[in-house]
Symmetry: C2
Subunit: 532 residues, 2 copies
């Protein structure tokens, strides 16, 4: 393409939506001239389906649930007055609680501080990435420190965290977020936290806030132990689209984020992306680009490159939103497929020094989503005559787009006038809608995650086996067994898993399980030696 | 495969290297029975080539350079006494300087602290990811705070950082790392830092340390301004393999890491991965698995899942090491290819709640590299009868491996007895050697990065164009131009780039460039209005 053709194509396809503060440039995707027209009937059906979802259809059919994250920022769209009231009262309660905490009206029971001086979040997946992104992108300096996230069942890192803040623990608030209230990693991290508070003579309940579905195990615990507060989640909000619920809003409000502006941004993008005129609808165009790039089956990965440090978590946020929504093994009618759209990326220009080498010259199995912020918030110092450091942030974004384009590598570019709460809300809503529309095009349920269960079940089986193996060894102190012998005794087919469980027990210093080493794993003998 | 067959395959293929503390399990890769034998001649040649590299061959032919990162941890292997002396004296100097800083013998010029109380790093790519990984994985509590990394030319985030530490700036040390000494992002961040120190009445030079090649622009500046110290880099160390040079070692030593143990771990893995017996050589087996998984052309992405929070950066570290090394457009003899191996991943079990849904049920275009630590450093609290939180970390790792395997998704598992400096050194050396061997198999130069230059050049052109556009507008105050008119005036073919530059100048509040909006980008008129 000549420079003139590129300029014409840029003008032809530019999708500028001032109301939502978004500009989408798809001119560097080499879709054929008739592609958008050809896809229009399918996209129109997808837009209709989104309308039905917003009206309360059971869009998550496999779980028999409505999909209501759009209502969270436009409560008047909720299908029942009860849902509308729930949304509005929760928003008010979040704002009130954040004020009470910041002003010291909700305060630690002991200590001299008088106020909570910091907080952290326990949560994983949708209960972590949304508030993490919000905090990184928007936290006001000098309200609270960046909130750490305990998002795993790794006691070493959890204990390191509590060790590092121990002097401040008495004035530290804990937010425990689990929609289902039964997520194992979250439960474990919460038990570690409870233990850390107790070890300092503090009552965890007086520092703890829950965000969870009414009636969940976490909800019961919070009520029974009289936690500071509980905020609701609802079955019509999926974890990966919970950022505009209390899950995202409460941590953000504590960090001084203007959550009403965040919701207004999401609402304005929702409005813009209902537009039936596909060429004016950035979510529709973006979904069509995903379809074009990967032949409707994700054959190209999406590399997310925001040129803005505060958006460094956007790639991981979208990785979850997109891959968990679209990575499916069945269409909605049950036909087997292997769907998905792989997402990775950190930030520019940093990543130019990591993997852009491969993007420019190596495998051509991706497209880039550049994200730019027109006004980066600071021009920076003049690093050369007439050029400030922020000019280079812009220059590298544009330069990398050109360098990739020259080499036949495709990209879309999304720009926003600035990065504030409104714009982040709008940006997130754009991708939520794009995922919804694209899922309609490829006919998968974007709202369930059946594959996550398999790993959990298998893990449960490992833990159960560990209990049985340990019990058997402890019941026969000093007696040694090979993995095969133990498997036979326990009537377990899977000797390999028994072997791994045994090796794990040996590595756990407090288990008193010892191994007599042998070169051949099948010959290693394991025994329990009671402590002297 | 039956459980019995899996157990047999596990025993058959287990590669246990106690000297390097590594265990590699490739039993869940479904390579055909004769695959390793068939690949043995090629792998033997690759091992020979590695021997030549270690002996000082000009392995980086396109840049005419030796590849010497293996010498950094076994200086007696260096091809000349001068290189050996450089390595040994630099290691000694790093250790001495870290002690001097910690003990206050190198101290801030002003202020009451008497010692440097914190430090940060300015660097990007290979000059950031290595020390970042080292610090996250190994930093001792209570020596220094985690070191922030300024790894971009984003003035907003840099200024936010300096704002947040401003009260401590007088006792804050700055490490500026750039091998070439001319990396734009690093230069810009350094200029921002200089400005921040000056704004507090501090002389940056008395807080600054450089790590760079002798004779580079950065080296000249450090000497001219009398910085605290300069440590050398050499042209035979690539940025992405610089973690065992001063680039990784100095920040690590300041954080209390046992850098001799780190080097010893790398050396012991280097030793183990010279083994010509492929089945006992974990790097050779791993390289063969990469070849098998992706048909020698990276057709499957590598998902990196360490079940250990302290290794959360491993995926990004390997993303750089692997993709920049292997993502090439030419073989060594110049034949066009599109090579590479896409790497992404964060940590388990966290990522199980992000994208494992797609891995288990969706696109089957990846293999997983599980990384496990037998003794996680803490068992954690008993979360259920007989199960501690670390048991779940193990259980989720094994469970996810099983769940993926059941669905026909392949994985390798690497385990280590613990995560300490020795083991991290060993782990990194394993991947460095694997990359080297795999590059031999696919005949690409793993040590250059010609594609990175294209983006830099294009960015330089954007910055130059910005200067010209601004100068022209300023020279004609009040007069307005369209992008097309300016492009013609400046004899620039690329109107689109001129348009983006103009839009960027308008967004930069201090430029005094204004736009008269119009729906059609080609009709927007831009002008300079001198400040009143």
């Amino acid at each position: 393409m000549t420079a003139l053709q590129r300029w014409t194509r840029y003008q032809d396809w530019l999708c500028d939506v001032p109301g939502a503060g978004l500009r989408l440039d798809i001119s560097r995707m080499n879709f054929p001239p008739d592609f958008v027209e050809r896809m229009t009937p399918a996209m129109s059906r997808a837009l209709d389906a989104m309308r039905d979802i917003e009206a309360g259809a059971l869009a998550n059919a496999s779980e028999g649930r409505q999909v209501g994250h759009y209502w969270l920022r436009a409560a008047h769209l909720a299908p029942t007055p009860a849902i509308r009231a729930d949304i509005e009262s929760t928003l008010g309660a979040v704002e009130a609680f954040a004020s009470e905490v910041r002003e010291g009206r909700v305060a630690p029971a002991v200590g001299t501080a008088g106020k909570f001086t910091r907080f952290f979040v326990i949560g994983i997946g949708g209960s972590a990435l949304g508030p993490q992104l919000l905090g990184e992108a928007l936290r006001a300096p000098s309200v609270y420190l960046p909130s750490p996230f305990l998002d795993n069942t790794d006691p070493e890192s959890i204990q390191r965290f509590f060790h590092e803040i121990e002097d401040e623990l008495e004035s530290t608030l804990a937010l425990v977020i689990s929609k289902s209230g039964g997520t194992i990693e979250t439960r474990n991290a919460m038990l570690e936290a409870q233990h850390a508070y107790a070890a300092r003579g503090l009552n965890f309940a007086r520092h703890a806030v829950a965000i969870t579905a009414a009636g969940s195990a976490l909800d019961h615990q919070a009520r029974a132990q009289n936690w500071l507060r509980t905020f609701p989640m609802w079955d019509w909000v999926g974890g990966r689209t919970s950022i505009t619920s209390a899950v995202g809003l409460l941590p953000a409000a504590l960090l001084g984020v203007d959550i009403r502006a965040f919701l207004a941004g999401a609402a304005s993008c929702d409005q813009a992306t209902r537009d039936p005129d596909i060429r004016r609808n950035p979510a529709a165009l973006l979904a069509l680009m995903w379809h074009y790039a990967g032949n409707g089956s994700g054959d190209r990965a999406m590399v997310v490159l925001p040129y803005c440090d505060r958006l460094a978590l956007l790639g991981r946020y979208l990785q979850q939103l997109v891959m968990e929504s679209l990575g499916k093994g069945r269409t909605r009618s049950g036909a087997p497929v292997e769907q998905g759209l792989t997402v990775f990326g950190n930030k520019g220009s940093t990543d130019q020094h990591a993997y852009v080498q491969q993007l420019r010259e190596g495998r051509s199995d991706f497209f880039v989503t550049f994200v730019g912020v027109d006004d980066p918030g600071a021009a920076g110092v003049e690093v050369e005559q007439g050029a400030h450091s922020a000019d280079y942030l812009f220059g590298f974004r544009l330069g990398t787009r050109e360098a990739l384009s020259e080499a036949g590598r495709e990209s879309v570019t999304l720009t926003m006038p600035r990065l504030d709460a409104f714009q982040l809300g709008s940006l997130i809503a754009l991708f939520e809608r794009t995922v919804g529309l694209y899922a309609e095009l490829i006919d998968v349920n974007a709202y369930d995650q059946p594959g996550v269960e398999a790993g959990k079940r298998a893990a449960g089986r490992v833990i159960e086996l560990q209990r049985l193996v340990l019990a058997h060894l402890v019941a026969h102190p000093g007696k040694s067994f090979t993995a095969g012998e133990l498997a036979r005794t326990l009537d377990e087919q899977d000797v390999e898993v028994v072997f791994h469980v045994l090796a794990h027990l040996v590595a756990r210093a407090d288990s008193n399980i010892l191994a007599a080493q042998a070169a051949d794993p099948a010959q290693i003998r394991f025994r329990y030696e009671p402590p002297a």
